[in-house]
Symmetry: C2
Subunit: 131 residues, 2 copies
């Protein structure tokens, strides 16, 4: 509960490697990039909306990742004064600059899958998206 308050930046090494480290420290992991990508597409979303969209994520992890993204100034968290309290998450202007990165990640993922499928061995069985 100490470093959690701090922005993450990498230490010394050449400029490009360091830039890769800086970015990947924020995007690495199973869910962070998906969260940002989802918020980029859908705009403001509530906790449960995110949980539903990112199907499979547990509330604990979603909560933790959202906090980290907020600390790193990529998203905002806003409590609404509603009956049962609701919270809205949205991309910041800074977070929005990840659009190009996410876009390339999506594009590459699509062509990569096209290349691999029809190739040979694949670890997961289903190839059809659900929505």
């Amino acid at each position: 509960m100490k470093k959690k308050e701090e922005v993450i930046l990498s230490q010394q090494c050449n400029l490009q490697i360091r830039a890769i480290k800086d970015t990947m420290e924020l995007l690495s992991g199973k869910w962070k990039t998906q969260i940002i990508g989802t918020l980029l597409r859908n705009g403001t979303m509530q906790f449960m909306e995110l949980k539903r969209t990112l199907h499979g994520i547990s509330p604990k992890i979603l909560s933790k990742d959202l906090q980290e993204l907020e600390i790193n100034q990529l998203i905002t968290r806003t409590e609404k004064h509603t009956k049962p309290i609701t919270v809205e998450y949205a991309i910041t202007d800074h977070g929005r600059t990840l659009d190009n990165v996410i876009g390339e990640i999506i594009d590459w993922g699509l062509t990569h899958r096209n290349k691999i499928v029809g190739g040979s061995k694949i670890s997961e069985d289903s190839n059809k998206p659900t929505d």
Copy 2:
């Protein structure tokens, strides 16, 4: 030692989320993106060259990550019939298509650091690259 032989692809979900998963499953982690970025810039490299460039990586992790990248057809591994055996690693044509992704990751990392530095709290101390 079973799934190691298989290419990684994600299961069902919407197309863009799945694309993000596919890409990030290959790039997530502390070293993979750095390895690819390094090989993209420097061309063919030996094991020790990589280890020196990616300073801080242990031989075990480097070896493991290189194997995974090779399995996923992003790099090639070539043994040279030299006195003490040497091995050369290089990007494949498919791996080279990650150029745009890595490029965006580097660009974003650079501007992100510019934005954050001069801002407020930073976790690491040194801000100067070594080379």
